[in-house]
């Protein structure tokens, strides 16, 4: 699978401040990549460089096989952008905004109209397509922006905090559409603060802190990587000898809390297998079995704190 985005040593400075510091990563085609980081970490600056809005001071970004600096038009033709702040023309209607996008992406008029109707229908805006955007709510504007970004059926979609400040209905509608788009083959580059959103949606996430990329991996691997000792919570339908638990392969320690056993393990997989075999050997039924892994929030906080100066 080829790279939809390939970034090497991307750097941007504003005066004395290094906003993005030699960031390198790649996003494969068909992937949902989450770009996470605290406020001011350099997420939006990176996204703006990748989308050709601002030029990098150093480094290279290749988007869908085209260098964003030397072939900006060819690169931009293949992607759509949903910025954090709605930037539709408020003096135009939704339909006029979409037709403008159709013309700017070189779509034939009939195709643009067909796509616009479908997208407005899907996003629940068709009834108000002839109303000026200035009368739209924030959620409606964000849905329109998404429609504008999708009109030309891009292979790659950049989204900067697409659900920030939206009501649950609009958020769910957008996230559901993103999943459908990804299943249809689109690559998605998602900048977000919402860890739960990233955890549920992204195949991989990159975490940026103070302009530097501190981690890139699948959410589950990131969580596992920062927690070297795994915790497992198990309960049985009858009393079992606690000492026996500590001797099981993969188990480091076991302590009882109420009707549950808190187990620590260096090798979670081996410990889980041992527990199943142990329950069978002792004729005990496992009532509950929970692997207490760290959340992506924990991973994010740990990684960004470790990297902080």
């Amino acid at each position: 699978m080829s790279d939809a985005i390939a970034v090497t040593h991307l750097t941007k400075t504003f005066g004395p401040n290094v906003a993005v510091d030699h960031v390198s990563f790649s996003v494969q085609e068909g992937e949902i990549f989450g770009f996470l980081g605290p406020n001011g970490a350099g997420k939006t600056t990176t996204t703006r460089m990748l989308t050709g809005v601002i030029p990098p001071d150093a480094g290279k970004a290749t988007i869908l096989g085209h260098d964003i600096r030397s072939e900006p038009v060819l690169a931009k033709q293949g992607f759509g952008v949903v910025p954090e702040t709605s930037n539709a023309y408020t003096d135009l209607t939704a339909w006029q905004n979409l037709m403008l996008m159709g013309e700017l992406y070189g779509l034939p008029r009939a195709r643009a109209s067909e796509r616009a109707s479908n997208l407005l229908g899907t996003l629940g805006l068709i009834e108000r397509k002839d109303q000026k955007v200035q009368a739209y709510s924030k959620g409606m504007k964000q849905r329109l922006i998404l429609a504008m970004a999708l009109l030309h059926e891009p292979r790659l979609l950049f989204l900067d905090e697409p659900t920030s400040g939206l009501d649950v209905q609009s958020s769910q509608m957008i996230l559901s559409l993103l999943r459908d788009l990804n299943q249809a083959g689109a690559t998605i580059f998602l900048t977000t603060h919402n860890m739960e959103e990233a955890n549920r949606l992204c195949h991989r996430v990159g975490i940026i802190r103070a302009g530097k990329l501190v981690a890139v991996d699948a959410p589950e691997k990131l969580k596992a990587a920062i927690e070297k000792v795994h915790r497992i919570e198990v309960s049985f339908d009858r009393e079992i000898p606690g000492d026996a638990l500590t001797t099981l392969p993969g188990v480091t320690s076991a302590s009882r809390t109420g009707d549950k056993w808190q187990i620590t393990a260096e090798n979670r997989d081996a410990a889980l297998r041992s527990l199943v075999v142990f329950s069978q050997q002792h004729g005990a039924t496992i009532v509950t079995l929970n692997t207490l892994v760290v959340s992506l929030d924990d991973a994010f906080l740990r990684l960004t704190q470790e990297a902080s100066p």
């Binding site: 050709g52 809005v53 003096d91 135009l92 013309e103 700017l104 992406y105």
Partner: protein, 251 residues
Amino acid sequence: MNPAGFSEQMRRAWAIAKKDIRIYYFKGPVLIFGIFMPVFLFLAFLMGSRQLPLSFLVSGLVGMALFFTATAVSPAIFPWEGQAKTLERLASCPIMVEAIVFGDMIASTLFGIGITLITVIIGLALGVPLLHVITLLVSILVAACCFSAIGMLLAVPPTNVPSNIMMLSSLIKFPLVFISGIFIPLQQMPPWGLALAVCSPLTYFTDVVRYSFTGANYFPVLVDVVVLGVFTVVFTAGTMFLHKRTMPKRM
């Protein structure tokens, strides 16, 4: 389709122009600086200059109308769009900065031509004879392109506050009106005034308009049109180059 090809970029520039026409023609500052200001300036001049022939005054009005209208739309677009963040939307679309600038210039040019043709019709309605129609139409077209490029040049400073640009624009436009032979014929200007006048593209347009209405001119008509054409090319190239450099600073 090659999205970066010339014809495709021209089509996209036309899309920008249509958008500008829909949005900016009826904005308050455009109407004030593009239409009301020159009208009131002309009326004030008309009241105080009863001894000048009507054909002279109408020529001045046509010159002033085109200059003010063609420079009214273009300077405001970039700051407005920067402020509304719509410029960021355009910057992420597959359209070159040059095509965006060209699209803005088309909108500004058409606005200038439209309003100027109304002033020509007013002149004809007042009984002023039009002696050289083709010359006038060609010069209006070239001068409208030239003045819209000047308007775009005025928008080069990367501020997203439209009033700053409008202020700068007035600061440059008003002196140009006074040194370009609109109120004082070039023949009556002192040498230093004439030296300034030859630097202003408005001088050549006013001269050719006067020729079209009265038959009298200071420079040969061909010189007027060629100089306007040279100004247009230089200003257009300059504004495209400069906007390409300053556009990222607006984001």
